[in-house]
Symmetry: C2
């Protein structure tokens, strides 16, 4: 199992892949689109894409890519986003005059960084490179925004942990493959569809699930763009498509919508530590 | 009319407010939450908040704020997001060695900036300050990511326009006020509601609109967080709440959901240049 991800070693996508599928190797590519072309060409068996963040919402460009490429979703996972401020051991926060950070990490820690006086912020595009520059250059008075584990590197320390603006910051990732077989028994299906342009069209569409007791766990229409007739709905169903009620509902749906596409069927992700709260027992999507 | 916005002069929120309501004055505050407290305290008559972006999706933190504060939405507007690279007149792109940019602007132009060789990127937190630093310091070999109109400043020039990664990048803003009267005749209503935790609950909820021919223009459930029973749905209805069929539908909805809140009723925004395509005649949300 070889998972392509967008970004650089140490990025959130790679961390999510490593935690969910520790037996896999990872392979970094430059753009989200490259994740899909890499898998399509067989240079990786799987690809991981972030699709939703609890603070910032859905990542529409990646939903667009799922529609564009015929690569089924075979699993999902989630990762809590945390950032720390890391510097050379012995440095104090008050001594910091320069901070190295990747643009997306910086945007997620903006309040914290804005409140520091007399600090210059320099953007780095490889998430690991801020920490690397500090280590290799023995840079004084310089810190990097990095994952907390960067503070475990000899000679470095975490000046402040959890510096992201929003504590409840969780990203959802999906795993695609050329082989549509889910990694674990599927109990969730993701669909995309476009409605006929008439009032009540959404109600009709959802009736095919309600009539068969298939739960619609999540639904979203892509924000109206300049072409309102192009709206696409994304829905997560609480059943695998091998289940006859789910398969029949999708066939029924096709009767009333302009088009429908099954993006994949897979095991729903359950946060391990919450199992006792949810009373669902131990279940892992990674097996 | 005095509109509070998050950010600094020249920010997208201020530009959106100025274009939609040119007769209004603007007032900048530090955080999104401050927009609402400023209006609640009467220090501004209105507040503007970005709630959706065509690439990045809904801005959930701002939907959360709409729920938290009792300030009705009275209008909406949209703004196309564009960024340009601006430098001193006479400078060439090849000579640039340093770029000044705000974190969010930088994140939206990441591909462009990554492809420039030997350039240091320095973050600035006031969007106008990059351009200001270049002007006041007569900085050579330095450029700023800024709105294209910054290139109209004497002594400055646009090195490259439209450098954002995605051309079709449009942000939707809502305007809140203490006075719930919409700025123009309402033909759209935004609702938030939470379902009973049972299959078919969403179908039941939507039936109240389908039965009355009230169009559901957009619907979204907030991504599952750690508490799946806390999911909130946001819906845009294609009717003002003063219309009897819409008012009755909302009363009916309250029968089957855990709670429902009307976030506001307002005139839907129509892009002026698209009026002839949509065949809807000239209509402005700003009157």
């Amino acid at each position: 199992m070889r998972i392509a991800f967008q970004g650089s070693p140490g990025d959130e996508s790679e961390t999510a892949a490593n935690r969910a599928w520790p037996q896999a190797t990872t392979h970094c590519v430059k753009r989200f689109e490259d994740v899909l072309t890499t898998v399509a060409k067989g240079q990786a068996s799987h690809g991981i894409l972030p699709v939703e963040n609890s603070i910032d919402g859905s990542i529409h460009r990646n939903y667009d890519l799922l529609l564009e490429y015929d690569l089924p979703i075979v699993a999902e996972t989630k990762l809590r986003v945390t950032h720390s401020l890391v510097a050379r051991a012995g440095t104090s926060l008050a001594a910091i005059r320069k901070i190295l950070a990747a643009p997306h990490a910086l945007a997620q820690c903006e309040q914290f960084v804005r409140d520091l006086p007399d600090v210059e912020i320099v953007a780095t595009f490889e998430p690991g490179s801020g920490v690397q520059l500090i280590r290799e250059g023995n840079l004084d008075n310089t810190a990097a925004i990095a994952p907390a584990q960067a503070g475990d590197t000899p000679g470095l320390t975490v000046l402040q942990a959890g510096i992201q603006d929003y504590p409840d910051n969780v990203t959802r990732f999906i795993l695609v493959s050329r082989n549509p077989t889910p990694l674990a028994k599927a109990d969730k299906t993701m669909l995309a569809f476009a409605l006929q342009n008439q009032p009540g069209a959404l109600f009709k569409a959802l009736s095919v699930f309600a009539l068969r007791d298939v739960d619609v766990m999540r639904i979203e229409s892509r924000p109206a763009r300049d072409q309102p007739w192009d709206d696409v709905f994304y829905a997560d169903l609480g059943a695998g498509r091998e289940e006859i009620r789910c398969a029949r509902a999708i066939v029924h749906l096709a009767e009333s919508v302009r088009w429908v596409k099954t993006l994949g069927s897979f095991a729903r992700w359950v946060e391990p530590s919450l199992d006792h709260v949810l009373g669902e027992g131990t279940r892992q999507s990674s097996q």
